[in-house]
């Protein structure tokens, strides 16, 4: 258990491909013998995939044009007429 606690940040780095080769093989060794950490790898990986699968919120045209007007006003105050 304390083994798993110690490894959790490395496990996240491992999933994201950000772990050096030495730590990588240490983690893989631990994973071989630890079902919970294997499930942790699988579900933490899926968590991010499921998040990314969600739709992005479209920026409504009305908000976009309001934004452009507000920026232009602020710009002209700072730099003079654009």
């Amino acid at each position: 258990m304390s083994e798993c606690k110690k490894h959790i940040q490395s496990i996240a780095d491992y999933i994201d491909g950000e772990l050096g080769p030495e730590l990588c093989s240490e983690i893989e060794e631990h994973l071989k013998g630890c079902k919970n950490c294997r499930l942790m790898v699988d579900t933490l990986r899926q968590t991010v995939i499921l998040c990314k699968d969600g739709e992005r919120e479209e920026l409504p045209e009305s908000i976009s044009s309001k934004l452009n007007e507000a920026i232009k006003r602020r710009w002209e105050k700072k730099f003079g007429k654009a």
Binding site: I8, L44, T47, E57, A70, R74
Partner: protein, 196 residues
């Protein structure tokens, strides 16, 4: 024209150049605001505040970080200002998310196996669970998680945007990720039980 050149032109007062930078980032900043607040109104406020501050401070940008990282830092401040009065959930320490930890959501010593989540829950429902969980947790966790995985910033870039160390940033991202994992796991478990 690359981003650096656009920024240089914008700094000398070229509105056209700045407009192109707006085009590149407006959807990203809006999405960040939407994910954090869960509503269009606040997302719009965050978007406007970010770009107006960017106009005010464009000459102070020295290019130590990328323009995007600089812009996200402004957005993070805008979010903080907006959410100051809103109570959001603090997350428990990392070890408490692990099986057998104090108050770990799964309770049991063994983790629940997800299999194919899409068999248990439709994408729409999945999105709602994820969005609610992100909107409920304190921004100090949701912001770095969103920047890292939705906006694909590197950990270093997230750390720079939030003015945090890399280690602290990684730990916050992981706590958000564990909280989302735990919530999803609870929902999947419920759904699986309903089926039996």
């Amino acid at each position: 024209m690359n981003e650096k050149e656009l920024v240089k032109k914008a700094q000398s007062g070229d509105f056209e150049a700045f407009s192109r930078l707006i085009e590149k980032y407006k959807n990203k900043i809006y999405n960040l605001g939407f994910k954090l607040s869960g509503n269009r109104h606040d997302a719009e406020d965050i978007l406007q505040e970010t770009f107006l501050k960017a106009v005010d401070n464009i000459d102070k940008f020295r290019g130590e970080s990328s323009f995007g990282t600089w812009l996200y830092a402004i957005a993070v401040n805008a979010v903080n200002a907006l959410h100051q009065s809103k109570k959001k959930a603090e997350l428990k320490p990392i070890e408490d998310f692990l099986p057998g930890g104090h108050g770990s959501g799964d309770g049991a010593k063994e983790l629940f196996e997800w299999g194919d989540p899409h068999e248990l829950l439709e994408q729409k429902e999945l999105n709602r669970v994820i969005d609610d969980t992100l909107a409920e947790m304190s921004d100090k966790y949701s912001v770095p998680f969103i920047l890292r995985y939705y906006e694909d910033l590197s950990v270093k870039e997230v750390a720079d945007s939030m003015n945090l160390s890399v280690a602290a940033t990684k730990s916050r991202i992981l706590r958000a990720r564990l909280a989302l994992r735990e919530r999803l796991s609870e929902v999947f478990k419920e759904k699986a039980n309903e089926r039996v």
